[in-house]
């Protein structure tokens, strides 16, 4: 085939003899081009640059991307594909009476099989999450482009590009995060999963793992929790509602926001219609259907407490097992005996819900919104520190934030007993020592607004009056600010800090006079632990926990024995003296305790104790805004604590965990 003429025929026009099947290329212009007119050579060169450079760049880019994919695909060769169908059986958790609470480490899943998934649920899931699920090999370039286009058009994130298999890979291999490395690892893992499992198997594993919000993991648990049904019994609208929750289950849960759940359900129904799974009339009818979340509020609160306890026990258990000489990673087969009284826990949660309803009404009359009011309650054994009740939020399905453990707030006047204890420990003060209740310049303490006279707003006394010379016992009982400030400054920050730390309060005690009046933040559980020193004769309980003992599958005890810490925080005499100051008899009922209020009325506290237990209560808002003016701990936290403790002797049966809900 003649290509480039040389020799005598060079005078001929080059292009006239170039083989059309072998056009000049960027790498081989040949001599023919040399013989073209300059303008033509320039034009051809320019066109080559214009058209071929992007082509080569595209090839280079695609090749580079392929190389990156090669890296991740190779890296994914080591992943354990059997982990996909290996859901933990979890640890059996029992309460103090031996009643089964549930299983920790399984997220309370109710496992389903392929036969349990109704066809319309699959349609809804495909429509909502991954329309090409049955076509793609684990990742979906077409879906990704479509999602990018839809999101670009909408100028917001409307569609995700992750396939169901990618979501499964993310869950199994803990690939949360949005950086490119995680995303590419997820795609590679998804391809591996698709190689190893059928689409139906992937679907089942996905639905057994996925989170549907409000503490419900897996389709079985969500169907039971939201609708009181099995997965098989779900209707089309219920299926669409559940599938609509998947992108953001914590926000879209019908127990958090019915409006958002409904909006997402309808969006899923419209997508089902778009892909031909629903007719026009079916869509119109379903959009009018009300999806009823069947559970009563009491049931949801009780169920929420079970989920909360299981999550908390799992955290504590994993932390404990990790410290063993040979760490145990799987909870399968373990039996965990806890100190929790499930009945009392659920009663406490319901009491909090009822009490806050009352507070909301009070707040409304004071012109303050009350929809974000929260409360927490902790009760522990004096001797062992074991937790009997721990309620971290008003409704666990709405908020999983554990205010009993994770939240720190200033205790205000609830800290006073420790200041007086430090004073009594010096030997220079006794409950009968006179202290001076008179105006005190707040600039020395820096509480609330820096100026003003301390005592004008005496936290527990709205109609404060100066009492002059009173005993220390009376000042503590009446929660007087100015005598406590004077006493604390005399004793000094150091001794008070040491005593607070010895009592088990580990949050930092700020090096400022305001700390003497409870300005330094603490969490509810640790300050409740601190209060155990008073009924315990000066020795605090061990660090609080829920787990009494753990046995492995063979029945062998594997939890370490409880270590009682005898180091006293104060002398028995001091503990008795403070206890006496905090004990009063009213109407034939003797109560020991101390309320607490912060200056801006943001937090209301109450701590009480008897011979066996110590308990603490907090009422407030997450936003740090006031409950409302003059919302004192004695009025808002103390009655709540009293109501919960009064139910300690109740014999009403706890709402059991249904047998069908057990994994």
């Amino acid at each position: 085939m003649n290509e480039t003429p040389t020799g005598p025929d060079l005078s001929k026009s080059a292009e006239a003899i170039v083989d059309p099947a072998d056009p000049p290329s960027i790498i081989d212009e040949g001599t023919a081009s040399r013989n073209r007119p300059l303008w033509r050579r320039l034009l051809v060169g320019f066109l080559k640059v214009i058209f071929l450079t992007p082509f080569y760049l595209l090839i280079a880019l695609v090749a580079f991307g392929g190389g990156v994919g090669w890296h991740y695909f190779e890296a994914s060769a080591d992943i354990d594909l059997t982990a996909v169908d290996r859901l933990e059986v979890g640890a059996l958790v029992r309460d103090v009476h031996g009643r089964e609470i549930g299983r920790a480490g399984t997220m309370s899943r109710l496992l389903i099989t392929r036969e349990d998934i109704p066809p319309h649920f699959v349609d809804a899931l495909i429509a909502a999450e991954d329309q090409r699920f049955f076509l793609h090999p684990g990742f979906d370039p077409v879906g990704s482009v479509r999602a990018a286009w839809v999101n670009y058009r909408a100028d917001s994130i409307r569609e995700g590009a992750s396939t169901l298999t990618q979501q499964l890979a993310r869950d199994v291999y803990k690939l949360a995060g949005k950086d490119a490395d995680r995303k590419l690892s997820e795609v590679a893992a998804a391809v591996r999963i698709e190689e190893h499992y059928t689409k139906d198997e992937i679907l089942v594993h996905y639905l057994n793992r996925i989170y549907f919000g409000s503490g419900f993991y897996g389709l079985g648990s969500a169907a039971r929790g939201f609708f009181g049904k099995t997965a098989q019994e779900l209707t089309v609208d219920e299926s669409a509602l559940l599938c609509g929750l998947i992108p953001s289950p914590s926000r879209y849960s019908p127990l958090v926001s019915e409006a958002l759940a409904l909006e997402n359900r309808n969006q899923t129904l419209r997508r089902m219609h778009q892909i031909g799974k629903l007719t026009d009339s079916q869509l119109a009818s379903l959009l009018e259907t009300e999806s009823i979340v069947a559970k009563s509020r009491e049931h949801l609160i009780n169920r929420g407490q079970v989920n909360y306890l299981l999550a908390r026990v799992e955290r504590e258990l994993r932390a404990s097992l990790a410290t063993r000489p040979v760490p145990i990673k799987s909870l399968d087969g373990l039996v965990v005996e806890t100190s929790i009284d499930l009945e009392m826990q659920q009663n406490a949660a319901r009491s909090i819900d009822r009490h806050l309803e009352e507070v909301v009404k009070r707040a409304a009359t004071a012109g303050t919104p009350g929809d974000d009011l929260e409360a927490a309650f902790v009760m522990m054994e004096n001797r062992t520190g074991r937790i009997v009740v721990s309620v971290g939020s008003r409704d666990f399905h709405k908020s999983e934030y554990d205010r009993a453990v994770e939240m720190t707030r200033p205790p205000g006047s609830a800290l006073f007993p420790f200041v007086y204890a430090a004073a009594f420990e010096t030997g220079a003060f006794t409950p009968d020592t006179p202290v001076f209740d008179a105006p005190f310049d707040n600039r020395e303490m820096g509480i609330g607004s820096v100026g003003g006279i301390l005592g004008e707003w005496s936290a527990e006394n709205p109609g404060n009056r100066w009492e002059g010379r009173i005993t220390a016992a009376k000042a503590l009982r009446l929660s007087k600010n100015s005598p406590t400030a004077r006493l604390g400054l005399q004793v000094g920050l150091g001794p008070v800090r040491e005593l607070v730390a010895a009592a088990g309060i580990q949050s930092p005690f700020e090096d400022a006079p305001g700390s003497l009046l409870g300005k330094s933040e603490v969490n509810l559980t640790e300050i409740t632990l601190g209060y155990t020193v008073f009924p315990n004769g000066g020795t605090r309980a061990p660090l609080p926990g829920m787990i009494r003992e753990v046995r492995d599958a063979s029945g062998k005890l594997i939890s370490p024995p409880l270590e009682l810490k005898p180091d006293p925080a104060m002398s028995g005499a001091t503990a008795s003296a403070v206890s006496a100051c905090l004990t009063a008899t009213s109407g034939g009922v003797t109560q020991s305790g101390k309320s607490g209020t912060t200056p801006a009325f943001t937090d209301a506290w109450y701590f009480g104790f008897d011979d066996e237990y110590t308990w603490g209560t907090w009422v407030g808002r997450d936003s740090f805004t006031p409950l409302f003016p003059l919302a004192f701990g004695s009025e808002f936290a103390k009655p709540l604590a009293a109501a919960i403790v009064a139910e300690r002797t109740s014999t009403s049966p706890a709402v059991p965990v249904a047998a069908s809900e057990k994994p």
């Binding site: 040389t6 020799g7 290329s25 790498i27 212009e29 001599t31 080569y56 090749a63 190389g67």
Partner: protein, 153 residues
């Protein structure tokens, strides 16, 4: 240029064979087609060389594209490891990938250089008539590659 292309393609095929048969044997990775990828690029280049016999520029274009793809895929394969600081220069797979990228990018550079910079000096038509070698059977003139801007040797 075809000889150079042929050498590069054979080197890549050899790398692919070592990757496929060597890694698994040494226990450094499973014996999968992925480890034979360098050989794939080499095969494409070899096809280019063969194609260049009747269709010189088309064949070399194919070889050039294969080299671009091989070189940049090698870079893409190494980049994540480099960014994650997990490059292990002692491992055989890593050495083979580096070798693949080096061969392919070397070929791209040589070809690009020849295309852009190795241009023939203009030859007066009269002198050319006198010096012009006779046509060869495949239509290629002797010494053209040295004088022209083609990468074809």
């Amino acid at each position: 240029m075809r000889i150079f292309t042929l050498i590069c393609s054979l080197l890549l095929i050899a790398l692919g064979a070592v990757g496929y048969y060597g890694w698994g044997v040494e226990g450094e990775g499973p014996r999968t087609l992925v480890s034979a990828i360098p050989g794939g690029f080499g095969l494409l280049m070899l096809i280019g060389v063969i194609l260049a016999l009747p269709l010189r520029r088309t064949g070399l274009q194919l070889a050039f594209l294969a080299a671009v793809a091989g070189g940049f895929s090698g870079l893409g394969r190494l980049t994540p490891s480099y960014l994650k600081e997990t490059l292990d220069w002692q491992s055989h797979p890593m050495n083979l990938i580096v070798a693949m990228a080096a061969i392919c990018l070397g070929y791209v550079l040589v070809a690009g250089f020849r295309c852009l910079f190795v241009r023939s000096k203009p030859v007066p038509a009269k002198a050319k008539e006198e010096e012009a070698p006779p046509f060869k059977a495949n239509g290629e003139a002797e010494g053209e590659s040295e004088a022209g801007n083609s990468i074809d040797a």
